[in-house]
Symmetry: C2
Subunit: 242 residues, 2 copies
């Protein structure tokens, strides 16, 4: 456990960088531990009584909301380094859950420890807020996509965005990156039906812009895709705003 936390990506993304040289003290202070979950298992983050916050360490998944009638909206893909849980429990209506699409390792720590973090480790708190700002920005962009763009634009946007996130995590090999999601997941991300998602993917494949099979996404022509996405996409900024 402790050894695992030594190379905890929390540090990698600088959210808790330089926390403490003593790993044991780190564990104790934040009461955090490791949680392994299988592929396809879900973590429900109900209302404010979700006492825990997570950071994804390994694996991939997705974060989504469910409506009572079964409709599902994927809010974002979950990649290593992502901080999850703050956004739950603010208001109380839709169910907010995280599902692993590959085996995952999460770093868990107690929500009650958050306040002490702000008091004792302002730098880390600052980084955490910065992470929230990045997420907020991403959601605004997603909102514009669902509100204004058609199927092809949405698909291009979604796949490029995912690819670039992988890129910044060093998960890209040439023009290929892992993509452990089903077309249904993509549909629920982009606000399209499964069928239409499939057809849109086909169009892009036929235009030789990408291929998507066996959990591998390949972008043959990222530039053309960016054109289609109707926006000039810049890489994700990692550095703070001071």
């Amino acid at each position: 456990m402790v050894t695992n936390c030594a190379n905890c990506p929390l540090r990698k993304i600088d959210v808790f960088k330089d926390l403490d040289r003593d790993e044991l003290a780190y564990m104790q202070r934040f009461k955090h531990g490791e949680l392994k979950i299988d592929s396809q298992s879900t973590v429900l983050m109900e209302g404010s009584n979700s006492p825990q916050l997570f950071t994804a360490l390994k694996g991939m998944g997705l974060r989504y909301k469910t409506l009572e009638d079964g409709r599902r909206q994927v809010v974002n893909f979950v990649l290593p380094g992502d901080f999850i849980g703050l956004q739950a429990g603010v208001m109380g209506e839709m169910k907010h859950s995280v599902e692993a699409t590959t085996p995952m390792v999460l770093c868990v720590f107690d929500r009650s420890e958050l306040w002490s973090l702000f008091k004792t480790q302002p730098e880390r708190a600052f980084d955490l807020t910065w992470a929230a700002a990045i997420e907020e920005h991403f959601l605004g962009e997603a909102l514009a996509t669902l509100g204004q763009m058609d199927a092809i634009e949405r698909m291009s946007w979604g796949l490029i965005r995912f690819f670039m996130r992988c890129e910044s995590l060093g998960l890209v090999d040439g023009d290929r990156c892992p993509f452990p999601y089903r077309q249904q997941d993509l549909a629920d991300t982009l606000g399209l039906s499964l069928v239409h998602t499939n057809k849109t993917l086909m169009k892009l494949r036929q235009r030789q812009l990408l291929s998507l099979e066996a959990g591998i996404l390949t972008l043959h022509d990222p530039e053309a895709l960016k054109e289609l996405a109707a926006l000039e996409i810049e890489p994700v900024v990692q550095r703070p705003l001071i």
Copy 2:
């Protein structure tokens, strides 16, 4: 100026509560000042070189993104107490702007002061992060709305959400609240065309669920609207998560 900051809503929403008894010191420490803008004027928040953060003090407006081809997505309505500016400048593609739809008063302070806030006033920093979490949650809900709901559901959701925000600010009089927006603004919020927005509004009016005229929104049957919005809406929580 200083007197104006004495009843600065920053305190009201507890983001900067109990900052300093001395208003002058408050002003000096955060180099913040007052900015009055007319109705229909806009503030552009380009990339990371937007050096300022705002809090809305008085009036209403909207925060939106613009695509190169002119399409516009309203991200959220701006009401007194809203903290704006963190989300800009993280990545760099769509233009992010704020437009006043009534005369507004903003409280401005320097982005460079943010870091000192985290070091010296952890409680305020904590509240700020909490505010970001609320916003993040709202955006997730908006995303689910644009991705999964049809026109009537979207309209019901949007108007109820706005009404409840007004409620929590004490701006509601009976079943009426101010609504200083055009139908085009609503359309760009909900991802609908202007004509369809109009038709949808008409349907809801004919069902006696609401009326919307002369800048006043009246909800005759909030319960029925909540049913239509396909979600059980809870009031916005103001208290922190410790």
